[in-house]
């Protein structure tokens, strides 16, 4: 199914993927009583503070992410993706790492778990990183910076 006016969009696949992410966060919340925030859990796995989840759980959660993506990739016969060059990825990664620690979360912890809980902090954080992301892409496009290969 396509969306009128947006031929590139994949609304049904997006919705199905979103429901799976919601179920993933539900398992973390109802099962373990914790927020499925990827940045905090990744920091915990790496020994850099972060989530209060036990280190073993942090590691298995982090291992599950590529595992789940691999299953989908195998079922679909590969996944199309375009990435930026190494220097761009390094700059972006540093900003994401610093920003998510200072801001106590990312798209999953704030954007999914916090927004659905109507947490004021998460709603403000989500509006902020969305606005910053939109402004960044707009600025890069205005400067003619084509980063994805």
């Amino acid at each position: 199914m396509t969306l009128p006016g947006y031929p590139e969009a994949a609304p049904l696949a997006g919705l199905a993927g979103g429901v799976l992410i919601g179920l993933a966060a539900a398992v973390m919340l109802l099962g373990l009583g914790r927020i499925a925030g990827v940045s905090g859990i990744a920091a915990k796995a790496a020994g850099l503070g972060g989530s209060g989840i036990a280190r073993s759980g942090a590691w298995t959660f982090v291992i599950g992410l590529p595992l789940g993506a691999l299953v989908v990739s195998m079922l679909q016969g590969g996944i199309e993706a375009r990435f930026a060059s190494a220097p761009v990825l390094i700059v972006a990664g540093l900003l994401v790492g610093i920003g998510t620690r200072l801001g106590s979360g990312c798209t999953s912890g704030h954007g999914v778990c916090g927004v659905s809980r109507l947490s004021a902090r998460s709603i403000v954080a989500t509006l902020t990183f969305m606005a910053a992301g939109i402004a960044t892409v707009a600025a890069m496009n205005a400067l003619g910076m084509e980063v994805l290969r």
């Binding site: 789940g68 299953v71 993706a81 990664g93 610093i98 801001g103 403000v124 969305m130 892409v137 496009n141």
Partner: protein
């Protein structure tokens, strides 16, 4: 019960599958969503909408539960203060997100899709997290 490893693996695997199915492991799609003033791709809104919808229902069950199914207690954020640190951090994260079209979940999940590029992003992200921790240890 104090064994979070298996439920966390289930959660992580569902999460990674959802990201891949929703197209979020493709930075082009994520940057397409952020390209609001250009060739906008609304797919990410459907991903986030689906996830938020499920979780909005799930949150309603939590107050009626004494404890989680597989742990002794809930450990949930309680802060409600809006600080410069929160907003500044979210802004830095958003800039990084826009630059390469990757946030932490898709960056890690993409390790099986484009291993080299994803590994560079994840390594830099962990370095950024380590920098914050280092700075905090010094100023504490």
């Amino acid at each position: 019960m104090t064994r979070p490893a298996l439920p966390a693996l289930v959660s992580g695997t569902l999460f990674g599958a959802g990201l891949a199915l929703g197209g979020m492991t493709d930075p082009a799609r994520v940057r397409g969503f952020l390209d609001l003033f250009g060739a906008w791709d609304p797919t990410l809104a459907f991903v986030m909408g689906g996830a938020v919808l499920v979780m909005a229902i799930v949150w309603r069950a939590v107050p009626r539960m004494q404890t989680p199914w597989l742990a002794e207690a809930f450990h949930l954020p309680t802060r409600a203060d809006l600080t410069p640190r929160l907003i500044g951090g979210a802004a830095l994260f958003g800039i990084g997100w826009g630059v390469a079209g990757l946030c932490p979940g898709p960056g890690i999940a993409a390790l099986v899709i484009e291993p080299g590029a994803a590994a560079i992003f994840v390594a830099a992200m962990l370095a950024g997290m380590a920098l914050v921790r280092l700075f905090e240890a010094k100023s504490a």
